[in-house]
Symmetry: C2
Subunit: 127 residues, 2 copies
């Protein structure tokens, strides 16, 4: 198996409070995001914090998707890491849409290619 | 809870094949790394691939640690993401030592501070 991967780091702001605090919604969104990108889901683990916030991961055959949400700040910290032929932006965009993110800051890091490279691309989208 | 976090991306090369292929060893190493850095472990999910390779995550109250190992390439793709007062380099160094990584390329990304920033620091260590 090739080591080469693509890792999108997305900082989502101005998301809906209620969605960021709904663990079942987030878990379903992440599984759907993985499947829509063509990934094979292997492990799913989410945790709800008190009084608010959700952390979780979907381990896929092609790497992982993670979230840490801070509903009180409208902020979600997202990582979508894929290897093989998958495009991580499919899942990253699906998640940002699902959370109604008003501001989306994303970078893409190549992984598994030797030295750590500086981000290949950087994008800011303000809804 | 503050959104600010520190995310270490570590590319480890020249690791031991047997360690990279031992799911129990990796899972224990990751839980120990989290605890040594002062984190509180919330969820643990690891998966062993055939014929080789391990992916997994430890969700901590302060974010997460992940690994994808490629034993046949001596490569482990590591993320250690912490918020609060924790120092992610404690866990990252513990993991690199445990896997006997010969080459360690790491960068640290600030998270949850508004726009995505370019890496704050970058380090290459060759054993």
């Amino acid at each position: 198996m090739e080591t080469m991967g693509r890792h999108i780091i997305a900082e989502l702001w101005e998301c809906d409070f209620d969605k960021l605090n709904d663990m079942q919604f987030i878990e379903q969104t992440f599984v759907d995001a993985a499947l829509k990108s063509g990934a094979e889901v292997r492990e799913v683990a989410f945790h709800k914090f008190a009084p608010q916030g959700v952390s979780g991961v979907v381990i896929i055959s092609e790497s992982h998707l993670t979230i840490h949400s801070f509903p009180e700040h409208g902020y979600a910290s997202i990582d979508v890491y894929t290897c093989g032929d998958l495009d991580p932006s499919v899942a990253a965009n699906y998640i940002a849409d699902a959370l109604n993110a008003g501001i989306r800051e994303t970078i893409e890091m190549p992984r598994g290619m030797g030295p750590v490279n500086v981000p290949k691309s950087r994008m800011t989208v303000q809804a």
